[in-house]
Amino acid sequence: MKVRYFAWLRQRTGCAEEEVSLPAAVRTVGDLMHWLGERHPRFAEACASAGVVRCAVNQDYVSTDAPVAAGDEVAFFPPVTGG
């Protein structure tokens, strides 16, 4: 699975993109956030504040209960500010 981080989440994790191999227990975005938080303590901190970390799976916005699977591209980022 490819995981991408944007904006200040990229700065805090010190990582724009990483390849990860998921343990079987990681089934949802919420599971993945928890699991990634163990690798990146500052990502865990950000996830602890409600509504601050948003997610897209395969380039569509999803909520934390959405499923994730091995071939997915998953991205985490703060709320978007286009325009």
Binding site: R4, F6, A7, W8, R10, A56, Q59, Y61, A75, F77, P78, P79, V80, T81, G82, G83
Partner: protein, 153 residues
Amino acid sequence: MIRVQAERFEPGAELAAFAKGRQDVGGIATFVGLVREDKEHGRVRAMTLEHYPGMTERKLEEIALEANRRWPLLDLLVIHRHGRMEPGEPIVLVAVASSHREDAFAACSFLMDWLKTKAPFWKLEETDEGERWVDARASDDAAAARWQEPGQG
């Protein structure tokens, strides 16, 4: 047409090209968003737009499709830049051509509201006081929510 680009563009030249030769159009509504120098948090020297390549184009296409579904539009142009830009430079241009001005205005306003809340961009300001990520505004969420249709979640 949707364009996502790092290159600077000239809103006047884009409008001229968009309007050229149209005999079928009653009106063209446009909006140009520019980098503003003065903000609440000190003078802005520059702004860098980060985006999610691939997803950006995909979301802009979806937003444009939605505008075409809601209003009878004759043409539509969205140009959105990413990268570093200085005060006075254009960030975004939306232009909408329609037979009727009400539809052109509504679609243009809708496109801007949805761009603000659904296009994967993030803005980093360089100010006199350092770097600062621009927060998403609650008022933008409220503006986008105006366009929610009955039955949408």
